[in-house]
Symmetry: C2
């Protein structure tokens, strides 16, 4: 296969797209309860910063989730998004995430011509790929750009992953996402997996995205590792806000990218205005020893989130508990 | 040149050595004022954790620095170290750092047979290499293991660096350190530089070390990138304590290494007992936007340290100031 030209540290690739997931992954920290002001400021900052996509949240079904338990971005009603973006007369595209088994996609994803949404991302585990494909095909038919994000691939063996990628390859989906759900991958593993995803993408004329977590403080490093090896959709959040250890920092990513369209300043202004306030409301995310440990052990961060929520500090005991679970 | 076998993610290389720099680089945060209890606990934790070297601080000359302005680890008197380690009947080796132009090495570095110190590391800028070699040769003659750590190589052109490495290659020094003083390197730059250092090391039968800073949250990523490409001495500090954005976290590094001699638990216990207390004393270090900016701009972190010391939050203004300076 011909080697793709991935540029140098001082050039840029026009195919690179930055996806802001602050409301969606950050919403897992505060149950999607962002102030209206923050959401509007984030939208404006993303436009000014040259960010390519802004993900507003999940298209969760009210059949499975109680509206009182969450802020509006768990559901991403069309009217809620329009209240922020109007007709979205900007270059920033709007994304939502639909989860396999949690989204009533047949009813809740309307035709794109009636929506301000541009991109529907479908998240699934390896065994849910057939369902995810059905959902993504439905979105594609309705006119959307589509991705499938295979979660928790650090738990998946190579044979299953190869087979899953082939299934996706044969579908109409536009982008396949490499997702390090547990923040357990080192850069050389990200390189190997990106190569695998890129080979499939080249074969089926698709592109590859990367979504990293910061358990080992490797979210940014792994994002640029995937980029260097050909990935073109890059997920990031403001100040890394996201579940547990959080994500790749938008600040770091925009500071790295050389395309003149990107501008770090509006994001820094947003951080100055809002992030400390969001933290002061009791929202906690970011690198900490418990997340490091679940990352090293390739485990779901839920135990670490509890540990930190309980303000425990007995790391060694927690480590022993984790080893028991494993 | 024959490819060195750098192992896999589940094997280990016996040549890897971990160097704890908490007192030395962390001392730049608190002017080397650590409690005696912390220093003793750190020493014990390093022994239990299988850490290979513990750097106690600088061998600064009292001719240049006033004793009242600093804690004891700015000077690392023999008696001060012995008060902690006695005869150091352990596998943990003791290191000190001597800075070109700030150390009265002829008088203050005594014969190794009379000292508990094992390793003398000499830090220099590129133009100080001849002086650094003279200092390292002096230490070597006195019986010590030696390193030369070329600081701020992100500001050095390839020709000067090649010439500097040749000079060091022709000296008696044991280890050449790749130092990312400003936390400005991305992993692919670390790979290229590690290759350069390794080529010189192979030619002259030396080994290579890595000392990284966390301005872009890449200290750990860059440390394992250098390791993967052959570096064998790895610097880290407890919770990344170090000037500005700090260093590679010892917790992450020990969590990565597979040699059964290493044990993360004593370091986690030390963090639990001491680190929050040290922070509560007003000591601030770690990733933050101002350090990201000086990292991106390949600048000394002193402006960012002032910004944070003054509790400023106007990142965009600071960025403009930095661009003016550059």
């Amino acid at each position: 296969m011909q080697q793709k030209d991935n540029g140098t540290l001082i050039s840029y690739r026009p195919d690179i797209k930055v996806v802001d997931c602050t409301l969606r992954d950050g919403g897992l920290v505060n149950n999607f309860r962002f102030s209206d002001e923050f959401v509007k400021d984030l939208y404006k900052a993303n436009i000014k910063a040259g960010v390519d996509y802004m993900e507003f949240g999940y298209k969760a079904s009210r059949e499975f989730f109680n509206e009182d338990d969450f802020g509006p971005w768990k559901f991403c009603d069309e009217e809620a998004i329009r209240k922020v973006v109007g007709e979205n007369n900007s270059d920033l595209k709007i994304s939502v995430m639909s989860d396999v088994g949690r989204t009533d996609y047949k009813n809740d994803i309307i035709d794109r011509k009636d929506s301000v949404i541009d991109l529907v991302r479908t998240a699934c585990y390896i065994h849910q790929i057939p369902t995810a494909i059905e959902m993504a095909e439905d979105a594609k038919k309705k006119g959307y750009e589509t991705t499938i994000n295979i979660m928790a691939v650090s738990k998946v063996n190579d044979e299953d992953l190869d087979n899953g990628l082939e299934l996706i390859g044969n579908s109409s989906v536009d982008v396949i996402y490499l997702v390090d759900s547990f923040g357990s991958f080192y850069s050389e593993q990200i390189k190997r997996l990106t190569d695998k995803y890129m080979n499939m993408a080249a074969k089926y004329n698709k592109t590859v995205g990367i979504h990293a977590h910061n358990n080992q403080q490797l979210a940014f490093a792994n994002t640029i590792e995937a980029l260097t090896n050909g990935a073109s959709l890059l997920d990031a959040t403001v100040s890394g806000m996201g579940r547990g250890a959080g994500n790749c920092y938008m600040e770091s990513l925009l500071g790295f990218l050389k395309n003149p369209k990107y501008n770090l300043v509006p994001i820094m202004d947003l951080v100055e205005k809002h992030i400390q306030n969001i933290k002061n409301e009791g929202n906690v995310w970011g690198y900490d020893i418990p997340y490091l440990l679940t990352g090293i052990l390739n485990s779901h961060p839920r135990t670490a989130i509890s540990f930190i929520g309980e303000k425990r500090g007995d790391y060694s005991k927690f480590y022993q508990e984790l080893l028991d679970i494993e």
